[in-house]
């Protein structure tokens, strides 16, 4: 225990060392002429407020984070380490980003004891890469994030890095929850070519670093994915015809068919050609990777004596993502920037109703193709009644996702825990888990956000977010106020609201159709204090 505390203290001391020099720490800290450090210390507290705000609240997070970012300029003006010439390599830098996080709620809540500390701490060098500039080429080597596409906070082309959704779903800045991967990113700056301007060709290669999206299913962890239905009960039975088998007397064999994290055969790669044609900025993209959310093949599921025996295999098939993006700034009539992103992804794993007509392989697993079209509009907008000095930045997105080779037997992720019913009668104390989450061929979501700033120096920054799925009528609102108290201290208060208009359809977007369900609802009040340097 003492050794562990010492380790934490050492890591925190290293991360916070720039603060030991307060005279230097008012902005980026320069160490000599070539090294710069910056970062922050942050405390984030989340109160889950359920259906009745402030009446049934429970503190679910107390995540304390220290982040240190550094850049070392070791090659400038074609001279490395101020001593030797590097010829055509004009500049090079080394960048790192390290994060230490400790969620002290684990120390406060007895109910988290069963998690055995999973999710309590994190100590990572998240990003570490070297940039080389050798005009017209540039190369970034190392652990990094690469973001493609025009969308905000939706997965279409932004699929190169998987997401860590364990500690707060997708509600945090994606910069903080993308899982950086070891890769090479090379860019050839072409410039003008034919009718195109500002063109470049980008190639990325991820030799062997494959990781899936991370999701927790460990109750009572607040962002554990539990499915719908009875929240206080866990499935303890399985229904095979009219026979109810005890899940506690079961044998589940899981074959890990996902790709191993470090294996050269797991190479992923892609390219992007980007440019401007007649004031229209566009890109053509291709990425050859793996599905980041595994599918499950059911090899067998049967009752052997009184034991329910299943053999399943998790699998992450190869995917091919073809994408096209464009944007256009219409300056005269609408004064808006129009954004477009469209993709076709082949090879996505999907669950298909076990034993159904379309379950041709008899294992409840299929791969499918999916298209996405996103149209977005950004507009700085004057609303003088609300702010006479500054515009509101309004951004809207409309998403249409379509399963191209659709089967009505496709099933989503939402398992429903229900009382077991045998012969028309409820069996007391027995609960089964069923998947009635039929996937719609066409899925839609609309998002809207508006932000501005107030106060003489613009230190108060409100943000309003609204997302709505017209099929399930699930919705989400975020109301946020950030206050830049000083150059060091930033406070942020957020309210997240999940709700639905009507119905019981599940939405694939994680909005109020799921997170607004009674018993699941996780409206949250979040307060964050950040000391930055």
């Amino acid at each position: 225990m003492i050794a562990r505390c010492r380790k934490q203290l050492i890591v925190l001391s290293i991360l916070l060392s720039p603060l030991l020099f307060p005279a230097l720490s008012w902005s980026i800290v320069s160490v000599g002429d070539d090294i710069e450090l910056e970062g922050f210390v942050r405390s984030m507290n989340i109160l889950k407020t359920g259906a009745r705000p402030f009446n049934d609240g429970e503190l679910t997070h107390q995540r304390n984070t220290a982040q240190l970012e550094g850049k070392y300029y070791f090659l400038r003006d074609s001279t490395a380490f101020n001593s030797f010439s590097t010829g055509p390599i004009e500049e090079a830098t080394f960048t790192f980003l390290a994060r230490a996080a400790h969620d002290s709620i684990f120390d406060l809540r007895d109910s988290y004891a069963g998690l055995n500390g999973r999710g309590k701490e994190e100590y990572k060098v998240r990003e570490a890469f070297v940039d080389f500039i050798m005009p017209p080429f540039s190369l970034r080597l190392g652990r990094q994030q690469v973001v493609w596409g025009e969308t905000d906070n939706f997965r279409a082309l932004d699929v190169i890095n998987p997401l860590d959704r364990t500690w707060h779903g997708t509600r945090e800045s994606w910069e903080d929850i993308r899982i950086p991967l070891w890769m090479a990113r090379g860019i050839w700056d072409v410039g003008k070519i034919g009718p195109f301007e500002e063109t470049f060709l980008e190639v990325i290669v991820i030799p062997d670093d494959f990781q899936t999206n991370k999701v927790f299913a460990d109750y009572p962890r607040p962002w554990a994915f539990r499915g719908i239905g009875l929240q206080e009960e866990a499935a303890n039975s399985v229904l095979l015809g009219d026979t109810l088998a005890d899940l506690y007397d079961s044998s589940v064999t899981v074959i890990d068919g996902t790709e191993k994290e470090t294996d050269i055969r797991n190479v992923q790669s892609g390219f992007r050609f980007k440019g401007v044609w007649n004031d229209v900025e566009f890109s053509v993209n291709y990425f050859y990777g793996f599905a980041q959310s595994p599918g499950v093949k059911i090899h067998s599921a049967e009752l052997v004596g009184s034991t329910f025996e299943t053999v399943i295999e998790t699998i992450t098939p190869r995917t091919n993502v073809f994408g096209f993006t464009a944007n256009y700034s219409e300056e005269k009539y609408t004064q808006s920037v129009f954004r477009l992103e469209t993709t076709v992804t082949k090879g996505l794993p999907v669950a298909i109703k076990f034993g159904s007509r379309d379950d041709t392989n008899g294992n409840g697993f299929d791969t499918a193709s999916q298209s996405v079209v996103m149209i977005g509009i950004d507009r700085p907008t004057w609303i003088p009644a609300l702010n006479s000095l500054r515009t509101f930045f309004i951004s809207t997105q409309f998403f249409w996702r379509r399963w191209l080779d659709y089967s009505s037997f496709y099933r989503g992720s939402f398992y429903d825990v229900q009382p077991a019913v045998v012969g028309g009668s409820v069996v007391p104390g027995r609960f089964i888990s069923v998947n009635n989450d039929k996937i719609d061929q066409d899925e839609f979501v609309f998002t809207f956000s508006a932000s501005s700033n107030y106060g003489r120096a613009g230190l108060w920054r409100p943000l309003f977010v609204f997302a709505y799925d017209p099929r399930s009528s699930g919705a989400y609102n975020k109301i946020q106020m950030e206050y830049l108290y000083s150059k060091h201290l930033v406070f942020k208060l957020e309210q997240h609201l999940y709700w639905r208009e009507s119905g019981s359809d599940q939405s694939p977007w994680g909005l109020g159709s799921y997170l607004g369900e009674p018993g699941i609802r996780r409206n949250e009040t979040q307060f964050t204090a950040t000391f930055q340097f």
Binding site: I28, S329, L389, A457
Partner: protein
């Protein structure tokens, strides 16, 4: 009077004394108020009156330090009236030096577009000009397009580009409270050089600028690429890279009237006027001598009761073009904008913009400049976070921008900027890549 006497005799003595006191106080107030009303008058009309009433000969004496006691006799005639409220204060110190002569680069005008190849169209837009010199070296006061010509000279002035400019910005309240402090670096290159472009094949580009925030951390790494075109009708192109998004985002360029980042200026206020000529009406109001912080010794000390304005700085009496600019758009926040542009250097000295709601001062900016040939003998301050070799600026024979103060009179609030500028020359290959969309796909993080 008789009535007053009779009336007063009917009242007890204390009330009589009260009346007398009230009379004396009222008379004193009436005598004192006009001066105060004038001093505080920040209306458009007051500035017009000030412009129209220059002093006969009573200009400042070079070599003398002026203080508040010199306000009436000398300074009021040389500082635009709408600025008096901020620039005259107890303890102020204005050093006035000999009016200098600052030649343009030796090759200035020698590579420029032939005069016959460019013109002002009916909207006052300069068409066919590609730089390399001053489009209108001589401006006749009775020229109906004199206002536009003065502005075009300012927009194509020597020294307006080709620099590396670390900056510090302080946002201050009226009581002097420092609300926010920011650091950023602007790097800028002129592409259009008259007979050639910096990068062959990019002849349509006037200039490119890359602007990156350094602090505070919530903004660090945010960068903005702006491309301005030779064709004034073509809207600028802009991209914003936000580290939190890890990708560039196309930004709208035609919205120029909202305050930026909490600062007290709008994009259109840049160098007095940074908007589109065809969106405004122009009137040339003649020339006017005034005090300007031209060829300052250093980034000026900031003083005054609110810490908003230069103090202990070096000023020169300079002759300026006075241009009245009226936005055509009904929803523009300004009714009038008056810009003072130095006749010799074509740099903006002062800008005053008036609120459309009441024609009172809305925003002003005032600029501090330094001539490049003094950078070795009298170098300006280094930025606190980067050291530069200022000798690289010597020989260019241009002015460099050492900063400005922007005051929003309506809030009231001010943004003070210090620029630690140095000339920077890019090779064609480096410029092509540095100012590219490619360079915007990744950033500090």
């Amino acid at each position: 009077m008789k009535n007053l006497t009779v009336h007063s005799s009917e009242h007890p003595a204390p009330f009589h004394r009260l009346l007398t006191s009230a009379f004396v106080l009222t008379a004193a107030a009436l005598l004192w108020m006009p001066a105060q009303v004038i001093a505080e008058d920040q209306s458009y009309q007051a500035l017009r009156d000030w412009i129209d009433n220059p002093p006969a000969e009573n200009y400042a004496t070079p070599g003398k330090h002026y203080t508040l006691s010199d306000r009436k006799a000398v300074l009021e005639a040389l500082i635009p009236q709408t600025a008096w409220k901020y620039y005259f204060f107890e303890g102020m110190d204005m050093e006035v030096t000999e009016t200098g002569h600052y030649p343009a680069p030796d090759d200035w005008g020698k590579k420029m577009t032939p005069t016959a190849d460019y013109k002002l169209d009916d909207k006052g837009v300069l068409v066919g000009f590609t730089g390399g010199g001053t489009p209108y070296p001589e401006i006749s006061e009775d020229d109906p397009m004199a206002g536009q010509k003065a502005v075009w000279n300012m927009l194509w002035r020597p020294g307006s580009n080709d620099y590396n400019m670390p900056m510090m910005v302080w946002l201050r309240s009226e009581d002097g409270t420092l609300d926010r402090e920011m650091e950023f670096i602007s790097v800028n290159s002129q592409f259009a050089h008259g007979d050639h472009s910096l990068v062959s094949g990019y002849e349509e580009v006037k200039s490119k600028q890359l602007f990156e925030f350094r602090s505070p951390r919530d903004m660090a790494g945010a960068k903005n690429l702006t491309i301005k075109y030779v064709d004034h009708y073509k809207e600028n192109s802009g991209w914003l890279y936000m580290p939190a998004q890890r990708k560039p985002r196309k930004v709208l360029s035609s919205e120029r009237t909202g305050e930026l980042m909490g600062m007290d200026m709008i994009r259109e206020d840049s160098m007095g006027f940074g908007g589109k000529v065809y969106e405004n009406k122009f009137t040339y109001l003649g020339k006017r001598k005034l005090l300007a912080t031209v060829n300052v010794s250093d980034n000026p000390e900031i003083g005054g009761p609110s810490n908003w304005v230069p103090d202990k700085a070096r000023w020169e009496v300079r002759e300026n073009h006075v241009v009245l600019i009226e936005p055509r758009a009904d929803n523009h926040p300004y009714s009038y904008r008056i810009v003072f542009i130095d006749v010799e250097t074509n740099w903006t000295s002062w800008m005053f913009a008036f609120d459309k709601r009441d024609d009172q001062l809305f925003r002003l900016n005032q600029h501090f400049t330094k001539y490049s040939e003094t950078f070795d003998t009298e170098p300006p301050s280094q930025a606190p976070y980067v050291k530069q070799d200022f000798s690289k600026s010597v020989g260019h024979q241009v002015f460099l921008h050492l900063g400005q103060t922007d005051i929003n009179a309506k809030k009231p609030h001010a943004t003070i900027t210090h620029c630690f500028v140095n000339k920077k020359a890019f090779s064609a290959a480096r410029a092509k890549q540095f100012y590219s969309l490619r360079n915007m796909v990744s950033g500090r993080r």
